[in-house]
């Protein structure tokens, strides 16, 4: 059984999600969001949904992180609130 991998990855997902909304640095948030997506991708892979994991890895962890970094590049780096 692979339930410990499940739990470890799920902990990382929650950790990344909380970190992504509490960090003040927007670039850091973008990277944390990428890490969150990658952990979700691992979770899909553990569940056996390889197609979804592949999509999550390419879209979530890959391109959307780049889009966020590109958007941060055009705004101020630190959040105001």
């Amino acid at each position: 059984m692979h339930w410990p991998i499940d739990l470890i990855v799920l902990t990382f997902v929650i950790f990344c999600a909380i970190a992504a909304i509490s960090v003040k640095d927007l670039l850091g948030t973008a990277i944390l969001f990428g890490a969150y997506s990658f952990m979700m991708c691992l979770l899909w892979a553990v569940m056996g949904a390889v197609d979804v994991a592949f999509t999550e890895a390419s879209v979530g962890a890959g391109v959307s992180t780049v889009f966020f970094v590109a958007a941060v590049f055009r705004t101020s780096r630190r959040t105001k609130d």
Binding site: D51, V59, G62, V63, A71
Partner: protein, 273 residues
Amino acid sequence: MKFLGVIIVCLTGGLLLYGTTDFPDWGDPSSPASTHLSDYYIEKTIEDTKVPNIVTSVLADYRGFDTMFETAVIFTAGLACFILLRDFRGKKERFYRHKPTGVVLHVKDGKKTLTVGKEFEHMDKDWVPSDLIIKTVCRILIPFIQIYAMYVVAHGDFSPGGGFQGGVIFGSSLILLAISYDLKTLVNRIKEKVLGIFAALGVLIFVGIAAICMPMGGNFLDYTALAPLVWDPHHVRALGMLGVEIGVGFAVMAVMAIIYINIVSEGRHDEGL
């Protein structure tokens, strides 16, 4: 205000968690989806479509209508990004670098331009000297990423992958080119018009393959009607899926590049990450 936000988030989260209790368990054999649909797909996919990857056959054949409009949604996303962000006003000031000496020229009059070539080159406002190692590594890497993307599209029938993933990987190889060199390199290599045409062409390939089925005597998206057109009528549904996936790949690739270029340059297509 913050306290109120926390309460609202907790309430919504609690409601969503409460809602999930009604869901069937993960892999529950007695859930409605497993009792009616999944059996049919698992037993009949190979027989019907000759495609070993059930996910692809469900996405591109059994529920092809769904995927067609998903592609249309992606196309609309690219279109919306273009309409919202694209800025056709030229930049007021330009920077040029004299290549042999490294002197930077700042041209404040927007109408004056210098010919870019051996002597001068374009430069971004917050310019960082492009690193030789990064440039070289990316230049070697990009063709392999693109070949891999094409493999993912072409091999979608047999292994995980397909048009969406392959298109995204191809698009990210273009983005890598823009990051490792500069945005102008990408915009000069692939013109904005070409990207727009590719995005529309992808959707048209999908809808076209689906629509050709009708004059051939089948239903919309019924690939079996295409049998007289292909060289291997036995695998006609697999070939139909392949064509459709190629269309999706075109559209997604172009839309990813359009979104990236428009976001990073504030719609000006001149300088960016």
